[in-house]
Subunit: 334 residues, 2 copies
């Protein structure tokens, strides 16, 4: 539980699902960080981690570790966990979360900011790739090309929410849903034509479904394709496959996407420009974790500079993300 | 010469070539900025700008305007202008330059930092897209995927330096050179294979040359293709065309490129990820100018916060680049 001789950043993982496992793995790739504790809602004795030498505690005991953890990384869900956990913990720890309910970010920010400011801690919310790296790219590109339009496409990737929605349909044993950007829409956007694209024109949805023996496949297909919000506004394809095929071909959690801004410059707006940022990720939670760990480094540094309160990726000077010194960065990367 | 009622940022343009004209145009796209003066080495009376209502002064008189300009944008060249001008002016003005001699950045930084710190001004060097936005993307991607490799490709775009080198060959009247990334190399990089690529494997060079009547075309072609540093290490194609064709088809200054980082995550490095940033620009100087103007906003804000000395794009919290407030950014872009 002691900091290493190089004063490594001591990280706690709060919640051990896919994202928590991603953090556990990402910390090993960053020599200036040290994983010092897991916290779980479950019986700590029952939790089997990939790092057995690091202790597991019940979340009820977390305040005993205020002096042992530099940054607590919250790995719960945005629906019910983080709105409660992040403000609660931000009063006592420097924290990072990946809160991703875009519409509720201002409210979440205010709650976390108040707690962190009162506790004189540094918090950062909504870290990952969207919100996160995609947000940063929307900001940079929009500032550089004020007269233009930006587009965000997601995929090809697994949507956990849509997969869950299919699994709740009667007769469905298991399912996986991929969100896929429409190639023609990407091409139209990159042309600089600034097209207006409907929901249906931007993405398609592809579903791999394991049905119960004897289930009414037509009815299941209809239930999926007509589901409001989730599928009704999209061109949706449903494939019925066996459980073995689902496990063999669809066990990964890939994702990715594109942020594209096109805009014009020149006295007569005669020149067009395309700025494009894209991600192609084998593992959504592991990449999200890698982003979070990087920003945890910045949180630690901001805290040591006395910058308290809630921050977002927009507030971080990029140099704070890197283990390299400012001199090295200028010499090697500028 | 007065600030507008909304306290716009008062910009001076120091040097009126392609970049200076780009700045002139970009300022019109940013309502919080105001162009207040041009400075030129030429006879001010002879300078015809696109904004005749803004006065033109000789650079020798620049210190008379210390209180009238919030940020001076230096539009000279990296070879001989900026190494002298930026430190000299940074003592008296907040400045931004686009110094792009990568190997000399540390030395230039130190000179500008000393001057700006002594003058209690804020300076920013090497702003543009490379160095600049490409550098930022190298930093972000490298911090997120510490185990990986990154690649920068340039083009398709016009290289002024290479075009000039061809023009100096005997028998050449005019020329334009395009740097072109090799598609197979891009594909190999995106695969995550982390290939080792030679100079020749990454880019090709395509030259459009107007030769004198009766010139020895084979000798010119050989002089180009065998030119050390510029062409000898590349697969180079030379097309001889008429002056009319050169003007008709090759008058633009397009450019662009790709920064790609691939890396692995997972306890057994079993997952690969690709982060790609790309630019496709109709006008290299106008896009560079758009980036510079954006960072000039940040320089103005850093100065008002009392952050003196020399900065780079790595030091700027992205929120400072946008005219939107922190609340709006979180609500609309995060």
């Amino acid at each position: 539980m002691k900091a290493g001789m190089f004063m490594s950043i001591r990280i706690g993982i709060f919640g051990y699902g896919n994202l928590g496992r991603g953090i556990e793995s990402a910390i090993r790739q960053n020599p200036d960080m040290e994983l010092v504790a897991f916290f779980t809602r479950r019986d700590p004795a029952s939790l089997v981690t990939k790092t057995p030498e690091v202790p597991v505690y019940h979340i009820d005991n977390v305040l005993n570790f205020k002096n042992d953890i530099d940054v607590m990384i919250l790995c719960g869900g945005s629906a019910t966990d983080l709105p409660v956990q992040t403000p609660n913990l931000a009063r006592h720890f420097c924290v990072v979360d990946s809160f991703d309910t875009h519409a509720s970010i201002p409210e979440h920010f205010n709650a976390v900011d108040k707690a962190a400011a009162e506790g004189e801690k540094t918090a950062m919310i909504s870290v990952g790739w969207d919100p996160g790296m995609f947000s940063l790219n929307r900001l940079y590109a929009g500032a550089i090309l004020p007269e233009g339009k930006d587009y965000t496409f997601w995929g090809k990737g697994v949507s956990q929410g849509h997969s869950d929605a299919i699994r709740r349909i009667e007769g469905v044993l298991d399912a996986k849903q991929y969100t896929i950007p429409v190639e023609e829409a990407l091409t139209a956007v990159r042309s600089g034509a600034e097209p207006s694209l409907s929901t249906r024109q931007k993405h398609t949805r592809e579903c791999y479904v394991v049905a119960e023996d004897g289930a009414d496949l037509d009815r299941i297909r209809r239930d999926i394709c007509e589901m409001p919000n989730y599928f009704a506004d999209y061109d949706t394809t449903v494939h019925f496959i066996s459980r073995e095929e689902l496990i063999r071909d669809h066990s990964g959690i890939p994702h990715g996407g594109f942020v594209i801004r096109t805009g014009k410059t020149g006295l007569n707006k005669e020149n067009s420009h395309v700025i494009e940022y894209s991600l192609k990720l084998d593992s959504n939670p592991e990449f999200t974790a890698s982003v979070i760990v990087t920003f945890a480094r910045a949180v630690y540094r901001l805290y040591n500079e006395g910058c308290y309160g809630c921050k977002t990726v927009f507030d971080v000077p990029p140099a704070l993300l890197s283990p390299l010194s400012a001199e090295e960065l200028r010499k090697k990367l500028l």
